[in-house]
């Protein structure tokens, strides 16, 4: 059966289980767009290709399946770079398909020609230049296989226009076997025994749970492991939701804006069990003084992560879920009440610093907004955040019980991620309630996607935490640059009116009393609402480990809110 390369592309995508793609058409990808109409594919027309990649990413994070973004050559492809890099840093499986100028024109600086495979070399797991129709099916198969296996990541397929237009026999290739690609590893029995020995000997162990728990679907076995060995669980930002927030063994988030008792527990621990995390500088603080008393066991699918930042005693390379299932029989049930009680005791002084326990002083704080959204949505929404202060407050005050309910750009810290990623999450999980929590700065980076929401009838809700500043940068300026607010104050548009201009609902909230009614109204109304929460302007995220400082050298929350900003 002869088909064009463009038809083969969609044949292959449908066979890979794709039902929906996010894209933006253009000259070099036109043949593919023309063929798309004959296939059962939902196409979400974005307003900027960066949005398409974030949507594919949000889709992947919400569902666990590969997300697909499509763009044309040249500027279409280069607009994808930020989204691809975001997916790379957070190991998110997406496949980006770009059109390319005709293979005869490659290298001639043709109209809308860019060497996108060259540009994306360092930010993709792998990429392909496809210049013949008979390569399309095999490379699509390989791209999906590479994107989702092992440590997931973005793969880019650059397909020349002539490869889309010319025809060949279509044959669906067998499961790819790539000689040079070994996604599956397993640890040796002796290493498992050594790890178990360290667990057995530990008096003060802590589990460090990362994104790998979600990616490998290891929630259940981590749960059993933690309970069986009676070990408290601290989480990275991307690990949140991997272990139920309400569980007695849950400690909360570690790192730069983690809770004080978590970081103190890590510094006092005699064993760290790192599950699917990579000791990012935001979670370790000063590496020289990191967890000085702790032996370290690192379970990780990517061998290159072992001993990268932190030297470990045992590295177990393999899929986290499989490795933990293998390891569990070696582990003795144990009671470590003394240690968990000690940690509870560490929590003691944090309660008096909890903003939720402070009397209402008439100001609206971001923490209140997040807390009320959490309460009103029963903690069951998928929350997609942008990057900055609001992201940290979300991590601290929205307590996630289930995996894939917090979607956020961790590794790259991409402002502008939230709105498009939430669209992708909603498309992937139409049954779920999706909330965007976004700052006033990041929102304006990709707010054109409000038009996508309107055109594609996407039903999500947007909470803008509007403090009139690029808040996180302002906070650094306050702490480390003598409050010289260089280029951080924002003059914002009227966000509520802006939403209405896009055909969506807009609201503005200035006081604590208005928060819950506004959130409730947004939940109950059809379609997307944008709520502009005008919060305290010079509020800061606490605790804070200054960059490069020791993990337990935290700037703590003030024990009472001071109007002029933070009492540090």
């Amino acid at each position: 059966m002869k088909k064009t390369g463009a038809q083969i592309l969609w044949e292959s995508l449908v066979r890979e289980g794709v039902t929906c793609v996010f894209g933006y058409p253009g000259g070099a990808i036109l043949p593919a767009y023309d063929a798309m109409l004959d296939y059962p594919i939902r196409h979400i027309l974005v307003r900027h290709e960066q949005g398409a990649t974030h949507m594919a990413d949000g889709f992947a994070r919400a569902t666990g399946s590969v997300g697909v973004a499509v763009a044309t050559s040249g500027p279409g492809a280069t607009n994808m770079v930020t989204g691809i890099a975001t997916a790379m840093m957070d190991s998110s499986p997406i496949v980006c398909i770009t059109g390319q100028v005709g293979s005869k024109l490659i290298g001639s600086d043709a109209f809308q020609e860019t060497d996108i495979t060259g540009i994306t070399l360092p930010i993709t797991k792998h990429n392909y230049l496809v210049s013949r129709p008979d390569e399309v099916a095999r490379m699509v198969r390989e791209a999906f296989y590479v994107a989702r296996s092992g440590r997931p990541g973005p793969v880019l397929l650059d397909i020349t226009k002539d490869a889309q237009q010319s025809s060949c026999e279509f044959e669906w290739p067998p499961e790819p076997k790539l000689t040079g690609y070994r996604p599956n590893h397993w640890p040796s029995t002796s290493d498992l025994e050594r790890a178990a020995e360290l667990v057995r000997a530990a008096k003060r162990p802590v589990i460090l749970a990362g994104h790998g728990i979600l990616l490998s679907g290891a929630m259940d076995v981590v749960h059993r492991f933690a309970e069986h060995a009676h070990i408290p669980v601290a989480m990275t930002l991307l690990g949140l939701g991997g272990f139920p927030a309400s569980h007695p063994l849950n400690l909360g988030m570690m790192g730069m804006h983690g809770e004080a008792w978590v970081n103190t527990a890590i510094q006092e621990a005699d064993l760290l069990l790192a599950f699917g995390m990579r000791f990012d500088d935001r979670v370790t603080g000063n590496l020289k003084t990191y967890a000085p008393h702790a032996r370290k066991v690192h379970i990780e699918i990517d061998p290159a992560e072992i001993n990268k930042n932190v030297k470990v005693d045992v590295g177990l390379v393999g899929d986290l879920r499989d490795v933990l299932e293998e390891l569990l029989p070696y582990i003795d049930a144990c009671d470590r009440t003394e240690w968990t009680e000690h940690i509870s005791h560490l929590k003691g002084d944090s309660a008096v610093r909890d903003i939720q326990n402070l009397p209402d002083n008439g100001h609206l704080y971001a923490a209140h907004v997040i807390h009320d959204i959490w309460k009103t949505t029963n903690g069951e929404a998928i929350v997609v955040t942008d990057v900055g202060q609001h992201q940290m407050w979300e991590a601290q005050y929205y307590h996630h019980e289930r995996p894939r309910t917090l979607i956020t750009s961790g590794g790259l810290g991409t402002m502008g991620f939230a709105l498009p990623a939430a669209i992708g999450a909603k498309v992937g999980r139409p049954d779920a309630e999706v909330w965007v929590v976004v700052g006033d700065g990041g929102f304006q980076m990709t707010m054109a996607e409000l038009a996508t929401i309107a055109q594609e009838n996407i039903d999500i809700n947007v909470a803008i935490i509007n403090n009139g500043y690029l808040g996180m940068v302002r906070q650094w300026q306050e702490f480390f640059y003598e409050r010289r607010y260089a280029a951080t104050p924002l003059v914002n548009p009227d966000f509520a009116k802006l939403a209405e201009a896009f055909g969506l609902k807009g609201a503005r909230v200035r006081s604590r009393a208005e928060v819950v009614p506004a959130v409730q109204a947004a939940r109950e109304s059809e379609g997307t609402s944008v709520i502009d929460f005008q919060v305290e302007q010079e509020d800061s995220v606490f605790p804070m480990v200054p960059a490069g400082a020791d993990l337990d050298a935290m700037i703590r929350r003030p024990s009472a809110i001071v109007e002029t900003g933070a009492d540090v």
């Binding site: 495979t117 060259g118 070399l121 360092p122 797991k125 792998h126 230049l129 095999r138 390989e142 590479v146 290739p173 067998p174 790819p176 076997k177 790539l178 000689t179 040079g180 690609y181 070994r182 996604p183 599956n184 590893h185 397993w186 640890p187 040796s188 002796s190 290493d191 050594r194 990517d302 061998p303 290159a304 072992i306 001993n307 990268k308 030297k311 470990v312 005693d313 045992v314 590295g315 177990l316 390379v317």
Partner: protein, 186 residues
């Protein structure tokens, strides 16, 4: 110094992928050579990197992350034949030519070009031997030098290319197992 023998698929861009990886991760390449192997579609790189043992493990693990990389061997502590080839153009007058010829003889190099004012000498050997040869020639005036960088081969009967073949995806024959069990503990 660590010496790696890396087998890669001979596809467009593979050298860029490897070189880009080293640049991106901040590994310091001393020399990198590429050439064919006896296996069709497989090229061999010899890469010398200035790093310690922990760094060498990271180099190896990161190379394995590249899809087109088939095999990585760190041969630093294995008995290995290491060879470098140099072409050296040295200033030669009628008075000094005979002296130079003697030196060439001592170093088992070869004269491959003669002109009224110069010689071109070809020398093969370890990097150290060639370095020392160049030092000896320097007083006569080294005008130009071209060197290949190191290539390496492990001594004995074992081969790096054993069992390595290239999958062409469509018709797949025997391939080495996908799975490896390696100890990553220190």
């Amino acid at each position: 110094m660590n010496t790696f023998v890396v087998l890669v698929e001979n596809v467009p861009g593979v050298l860029t992928r490897v070189a880009s990886l080293f640049r991106r991760r901040g590994f310091n390449i001393e020399s990198l050579t590429v050439g064919h192997t006896a296996v069709p579609g497989v090229s061999r790189m010899t890469i010398v990197v200035d790093t310690d043992e922990l760094g060498a493990r990271r180099v190896e693990a990161n190379l394995y992350k590249l899809i087109n990389v088939l095999r990585v061997d760190n041969v630093t502590s294995t008995p290995t034949v290491l060879r470098d080839l140099a072409l050296i153009k040295v200033s030669a007058t009628p008075e000094t030519r005979a002296h130079l010829m003697q030196l060439v003889e001592v170093y088992r190099a070869r004269v491959v070009d003669v002109s009224p004012s110069s010689l071109v000498v070809e020398s093969t050997g370890t990097e150290e031997k060639i370095d020392s040869f160049v030092e000896v020639l320097r007083p006569y005036g080294v005008l130009e030098m071209a060197r290949t960088g190191t290539i390496a081969m492990v001594r004995g009967g074992a081969t790096s290319t054993e069992g390595v073949s290239v999958s062409n995806g469509a018709s797949h024959t025997e391939h080495p197992t996908d799975d490896v069990s390696v100890s990553y503990s220190v």
